[in-house]
């Protein structure tokens, strides 16, 4: 059982790290601002989400687990809002050129 939980942590954290890698590669390689924003939101939502899910079995108690999920939800909320605002700023900048 312990082994399975460790395996779950390894798989989920590795997947999260992969999404951060994908987000960075996208941020560096994609051609325009909106495509880069698309890559960034994957890293924000999925990368951090998978890392948090992977860490849940290792959280000491229910309170710690709830705090981890709370951090993830906060980041989801702020990243969704900020992505919307950044997308609008990028679009306006493009229209003005």
């Amino acid at each position: 059982m312990n082994f399975l939980l460790d395996l779950f942590t390894i798989v989920a954290v590795s997947a999260g790290a992969f999404f951060f890698l994908a987000g960075t590669v996208g941020l560096l390689r994609f051609p325009d601002a909106l495509a880069r924003l698309h890559a960034l939101t994957k890293a924000d939502n999925l990368g951090l989400g998978l890392v948090v899910i992977g860490l849940l079995p290792r959280a000491g108690g229910l309170l710690v687990a709830l705090k981890l999920i709370g951090i993830w939800l906060l980041v989801l909320l702020s990243s969704a809002t900020v992505s919307q605002l950044i997308g609008r700023a990028a679009r306006r900048g493009k229209l003005r050129k």
């Binding site: 951060f20 924003l37 906060l74 990243s79 700023a89």
Partner: protein, 94 residues
């Protein structure tokens, strides 16, 4: 297991630090802000992995604070960017 978590923490930190090259290249302020946003999220993930790997629960509170500050930084950027564009706050599409 803690070795794996610490390695993952370092990996995520290095990866998002590489993303900071985008701040250097631009071309627009929006791209620079996106790199800062990615660095904020990556920093949160690295801190959470560090707190689990090194057994330092206080790092979770640091991650929580970083989440708050990243949101504030981005909102401040948007406010200043729309003000610099002469985009007065007249209640349109807000």
């Amino acid at each position: 297991m803690s070795h794996f978590l610490l390695t993952a923490s370092g990996f995520v930190l290095v990866i998002v630090a590489v993303g900071l090259v985008r701040i250097l290249h631009g071309p627009t302020e929006v791209d620079r802000m996106m790199a800062a946003q990615l660095f904020g999220t990556g920093g949160i993930a690295a801190l959470l992995l560090l707190s689990a790997g090194a057994g330092a629960p206080a790092a979770q509170d640091v991650a929580l604070t970083l989440a708050l500050l990243t949101a504030f930084a981005s909102v401040a950027f948007i406010k200043s960017a729309s003000r610099a564009d002469g985009d007065v706050d007249n209640g349109e599409d807000r």
